[in-house]
Subunit: 163 residues, 2 copies
DNA sequence: CGCTTCCTTCAGAAGTTTGTGAAGTTAAGG
DNA sequence: CCTTAACTTCACAAACTTCTGAAGGAAGCG
């Protein structure tokens, strides 16, 4: 290596960031391994890592990588690509795609709305509780619309600032 | 009772809603007991229940109520009040206060931002990874501002529609 | 077509979280 | 000031998650 100590220092700095940021994500509700894998991808140069690289950097088994990646893919926080002509799979964090996923808790909100709607119906929309549920429902419907608009503004803002 | 079967049907309907809605909240990351307690409060007539009432409706021990309520109070999703001249504590879901708390993940976002800022610094703002982190950071800063504005619009909207 | 590489799935061990009963604390009421 | 009601805290038991090692596929390469 040309700069062994420099490289070592860097990879240690990366590791510190990875673990620290992952810890924050965990505190916000993300499972531990997905959080670590995600942070590792975020902190990688290209935003792409293979399963083996992830396992090595995080010191976890292939099985753990596999589970974490499946979780993240389901949440649309990473995408999986097959390197053509290789058995290696590559996992990518799409720079701008992942925080869209963050705000696209759409499926979750939909289910909340459904549950609330049923509640309003079954408790009666003129009962005090029914009215409370209806207001909550209205709030989510409002947020759903607003978030969509907000993401539009972000895309503009982003283009201006980052190209 | 004047309408035994009617009352029974109602409380069963309430219970069904409570458990169903709580399940959705759990799926979104809320711990089980806090979710159930919260749903029970939402579905109550006045939005206020005592510890004993919660324990009875949800069939859980006082200890479980205590733990759940502490959690919810920390998240500002309910507030606790002392009934004057009584040993009873009353827990209230504030109609409009709680979803403000939902969007006030402020503390969480702050910590994410801090971690990202450190990451940008320690990885170098001109490295590819540093730039990726910087963009993510910018996104959160953007969202933080936008959400504040959105909540302002909601309050207006809410007043128009619900008084 | 078989070998090799890489990933996934599965069963089980380890570790966490969660909820309870019991003891403890606070404060009203006599 | 003692009693009693209401909630909290603590230690432990039960339940659920999570991670690993081992076995099982798929897919390139010779």
């Amino acid at each position: 290596m040309a700069e062994p100590s420099g490289a070592a220092r860097d990879s240690e700095a990366v590791s510190r960031f990875v673990e620290h940021f992952a810890a924050q994500l965990v505190e916000a509700g993300l499972p531990r391994m997905p959080a670590r894998v995600f942070a590792a991808l975020l902190a990688s140069d290209t935003g792409v890592l293979t399963s083996a690289e992830l396992g090595e950097r995080l010191r976890i088994s292939p099985a753990a990588v596999s589970g974490a990646v499946r979780y993240l893919a389901q949440q649309h926080m990473v995408s999986r690509e097959r390197e053509p002509g290789s058995r290696r799979e590559r996992y990518r964090v799409h720079g701008d795609q992942w925080y869209e996923a963050l705000t696209n808790r759409e499926a979750v909100i939909r289910r909340w709305e459904d549950a609330l709607r049923q509640g309003v119906t079954s408790l009666g929309e003129n009962t005090p509780a029914g009215r409370r549920l209806a207001e909550t429902l209205a709030f989510f419907e409002f947020v759903e619309k607003e978030v969509e608009a907000m993401m539009g503004r972000w895309r503009v803002h982003r283009k201006e600032r980052f190209g």
